[in-house]
Symmetry: C2
Amino acid sequence: MRTSEYLITTLKETPADAEVISHQLMLRAGLIRKLASGLYTWLPLGLKVLRKVENVVREEMEAAGALEVSMPVVQPAELWQESGRWEQYGPELLRIQDRHSRDFCLGPTHEEVITDIVRNEIKSYKQLPLNLFQIQTKVRDEIRPRFGIMRSREFLMKDAYSFHADHASLEQTYQVMHRSYSNVFTRLGLEFRPVIADTGSIGGSASHEFHVLANSGEDDIAFSNQSDYAANVEMAEAVAPAGERPAPSADMAEVATPGVKTIEDLAVFLDVDAATTVKTLVVAGEEEGELVALVLRGDHSLNEIKAEKLAGIANPLQMAEEADVRKALGAGFGSLGPVGLSIPVIVDRSAAHLADFVCGANRDEVHLSGVNWERDCPLARVEDLREVVEGDPSPDGQGQLQIKRGIEVGHIFQLGTKYSEAMNASVLDENGKSVTMSMGCYGIGVSRIVASAIEQNHDDKGIIWPAAMAPFELVIVPLNMQKSEAVAECAQSLYQQFRKAGVDVLLDDRNERPGVKFADMELIGIPHRIVVGDRALAEGQLEYKGRRDEEPALLARDDTFDTVMAKLGR
Amino acid sequence: MRTSEYLITTLKETPADAEVISHQLMLRAGLIRKLASGLYTWLPLGLKVLRKVENVVREEMEAAGALEVSMPVVQPAELWQESGRWEQYGPELLRIQDRHSRDFCLGPTHEEVITDIVRNEIKSYKQLPLNLFQIQTKVRDEIRPRFGIMRSREFLMKDAYSFHADHASLEQTYQVMHRSYSNVFTRLGLEFRPVIADTGSIGGSASHEFHVLANSGEDDIAFSNQSDYAANVEMAEAVAPAGERPAPSADMAEVATPGVKTIEDLAVFLDVDAATTVKTLVVAGEEEGELVALVLRGDHSLNEIKAEKLAGIANPLQMAEEADVRKALGAGFGSLGPVGLSIPVIVDRSAAHLADFVCGANRDEVHLSGVNWERDCPLARVEDLREVVEGDPSPDGQGQLQIKRGIEVGHIFQLGTKYSEAMNASVLDENGKSVTMSMGCYGIGVSRIVASAIEQNHDDKGIIWPAAMAPFELVIVPLNMQKSEAVAECAQSLYQQFRKAGVDVLLDDRNERPGVKFADMELIGIPHRIVVGDRALAEGQLEYKGRRDEEPALLARDDTFDTVMAKLGR
């Protein structure tokens, strides 16, 4: 492609309303343009990247045996009523009426539609397993669309749905999809982690998210520095310190702590490490009016998702009101502790490992020091209650946890029978008995991958595309092509040579200053650049620069094609 | 692909609500399934066809220098208000509100959005011409969706929009697109005609429709039996009979015609050919209360679109009320004629060529015979007023017109400045002066092509795909593969051989009776079939049948690959 026949519309200024770097660079490089809040047009350069991502996703889905379908964007309300989600789904579900005042929605996801199709078409276990996918525009009416295409109202998604006669078959396909997803992100050249995830509102029994690691990510990912273990921090298991709990060495004693309300206050006031204190939180129990105490080490944080899944605790988690706590326990939030408590107590694994610790005395402005489990208070129930922190042992026993930010670009779920049961999707098994199908669902945010790649790969000059996603692999920049016949001829002939070799090459034949061309091509992020200039050419040389290189290098004109082909991995 | 790993869901019965053959066959062959009125899911087999069509369209657009973009489906009302179409467009425009009660619509077309993008990005004539296209799901809330995907509420469309600094450049790109469209339909193996069309509500100065010829088409196409001339019957020029008008040979005489109301009555009553009579219609003139008489040969029909475009006539065309006519002319509809009329008269070219004709006398139940122009009544204004009929001379002077039914699958328009003027889309020209851009727009109904191909190519067994659109080019059908090792081995090895040669081949490895397999593959319309059977194989033979062949032919096992490759055109 020649720039003169292409649409290059770069911006010098960073648009004011773009908060994150990928949004800024996608606007500046002319990949997208905003139509309205959360609605973007993909310009030719951006769409070229999007299509490359889409094709990798399609190839890997097909290699995994999934079959492509295409379902409507507009979906009838009846199916959502059947699954129960017409009521459950919030206002992100864009509900519309047609000219006959019938209810429809714009599909944010297609579990209902695909289940309807499969229950009509598939009658026997012999036709299973079946894995159907589509790559399609989805609509979610986000309350606050932001970060460009990262959280937009229209986006391109690959969604796949698998159907099975039994759970073992679902597990098998789930593993296949896990591998396919890893293949996709590996081929795209992204640093990513598949992480154990919460199944959330979609429901089901097991789930992994695929995160592209980037500082601007919205999620915290905990992963081992020595193994494959990775989990969303919400889901990462917090392991107790190794070894036995130390034996008591101090006597329990009361300490007056006037004005001390927080763990930080307490650590300063007593001049102790917060890690040697415990804090006691009170939440609603499962039964109406019941309270439960949760005890964690002073320097740790409660993981609400872990807590609300425990037996005996209200789900969703509900922190107790201070007035109720004072009435039941005789003290306010700052002075609670596990000694002599009259309500059920759940102790976090790390707090349970402490000896000689400090805690509230259940009297306002009084604490206890030298407290020990079992000697001073019972240790009836120990659970994993806390958020992991960096340096925690990895739950798989290999290495320590690191925490980095990630951008969720894929999510796979074992749905089980949630939808198939609600919608009566069954087949006859080998004994002629009707069984409810098991389902899996598997999403990839195709457009979001483009933004996440930029978040992970950029510098102050612009985007640095991984090879598989670059809109063009190589740009040839002739200098003063309009004036120098030698330059024009060399640039054109190289351009044709790379084109014929199947390279996605751009010839920047615009009549612009070299500085403008260089800046544009670096902003756009083309991985390889050849400059054809009069002076170097006169000495039989061309200039080559990789997008990450500090300085250009001179190549002999006659070696250039072979050298650059090698750099392109051809 | 193996059928055991694919989704083949054919139906034996013709679904009751499918009116046209393409709809019936697409359901029966398992290409699509209905989700709701006018909303269809494309199953793997159907989507495979759709993608082949889409790719041909994309390749031809790119070859024509158009650049692909992707605009949102959801569009803000503001742009449609700016162009004026928010009010003009009927209820096919599906209007919606987001969670903040802001107005949007689901795009049935994208003139407003693309004009908004281009007016922001393009500032100079040097950046023009620019031709941008997308292949995208469109939504139109049809009042009565029917014929399956032929007239559905969601459909896949290729829409392109070109921008120009002057009209000459628009003309040039329009010609390029005309050729591209012809290439698309030629490559797809369809019998089609580019026809001169009305610009209708989209507006603009010139327009062609591309029609796939099929008996079930909704449009009548007039085309020459000796040249390229083709036009929508609405637009086809009706040429006067050759030669001079014959000289008068009869005297004008009054005839009492009691009870005669229509031309048919008159022809029977007087025992004359309707072609020797004229009828006089009265329509509203341009000025309030004004009437105009339109005179046509008795056997011809008024073409309302031609009439309303004429100076002096109200647009849209408005037939006069009989009471007003009687008041102004002294007679009712059945007895009007051009002799002695007090209102402006426009005479159709063919009526103007008559001599000694019969017409109403402008007195109820009285007609005149032997009437002649100029001798008996003036012939002030002659225009093309009528619909063409089969046998008319072709307007280009070559051959005669035939009329066939067609399905509109493409439409190209010279929009001119309709949208760019309303939306202030201008560039600086070479003198630094601001000029409004000229625009063209070019649509192809990608999903509709699939249905039209079936309407044109089918028999009582099912679909007969043109090679370029077939979901699979070749099917290998082993008989009793589960029992005969020789059959299984031969089928598998042939399958691998064709696969390696890049052929899109299907191996029907289902454990079904031969009759079921043959019927399915003929219904699905796969162009070439190889049957591997025990008996023939024992004699070193395989059976080949083209989808249009009456009978299968035997091929030597060892020649089969080469022979079939040749039939595939490889």
